[in-house]
Symmetry: C2
Subunit: 163 residues, 2 copies
Amino acid sequence: MGETNGVHWLDDGQQAAWRSFVVGNARFWEALSAAHDAELDLNLGEYTLLVQLSEQPDRTQRMSALADGLVLSRSRLTHTVARMEQRGLVSRCPADGDRRGVNCRMTDLGYAALVAAAPGHVRAVRRLLVDILDPEEMQALGRIMGKIGAAARHELTGDPRAC
Amino acid sequence: MGETNGVHWLDDGQQAAWRSFVVGNARFWEALSAAHDAELDLNLGEYTLLVQLSEQPDRTQRMSALADGLVLSRSRLTHTVARMEQRGLVSRCPADGDRRGVNCRMTDLGYAALVAAAPGHVRAVRRLLVDILDPEEMQALGRIMGKIGAAARHELTGDPRAC
DNA sequence: ATGTTGTAGTTGAGATCTCAACTATCTCAT
DNA sequence: ATGAGATAGTTGAGATCTCAACTACAACAT
């Protein structure tokens, strides 16, 4: 099928699905980010970072683990955390056991900000995603994006194994 | 189900699907963007813009239509096009019929760059998405993201109708 | 014809992100 | 113990993006 110059182009159905993915995604994140900016005191990135921290023991996590979990570059995380530290949402201290390491810890102020923002965030996620889809579609989306994410991770880390 | 303080939190299955979506998405775009940076002379944004132009009559489109099609802000598009114009990939000229309007046109150099980049782009999209999924999953993804994108558009434009 | 409101696009300043160094520490084989 | 990589995190400069003006024109009612 559709091969020219040795390149396997996408057929019409694949093209259409790919377009929906690109455009739908862009619109979704734009809308979710806009909802944060309009109603909440934490933008989407800050909120996501605090959620991740809130799930760690002592609300603390190593910078590198945080970067991996949030799919952010080390550098970007450093800058983001520096800004959030200025606002008093998180604090940094040396990790114990590895003197290279740095722990990032959510402050009480950060926790309060997270609690204040959570309802608005969840409402937006429901309005824009969960309530839009049938339960089976939501489940399918999770499964499909899991596969996509795993494939991308393998490519990014040069990791050939399927874990 | 899961309601506290009048907020309808997500249940475990919804949470898991949402996480897969967030992380899978981030990884996918990171990997696709990295593939462009590593192998191609057009980054993902430039490539997408040129694809959009390539599908227009005379490879030309109004700035506003281009911004809508690519889900970019007007400002961001202006800056991006200005950079691409510097590189000779596109050119701008007044639109006829509306003296406020500006047309963006892909140059021959832009077309050549697009043609050169297309095989690598398609290979990456296959490797990271199309070949990862079963055909039914690819189709489902397109349908689901179409619904999500439509909902987001309604919210962004304040448009209550489901077209 | 005039005024009012909406649309198209740009601009520049500040915020954010990327990329390539760079320091410091750890790991581990010799 | 020592030296050669690997890993953790930061830094700063340059690239890119956002946001709020701003100009210019169009549409439309009075």
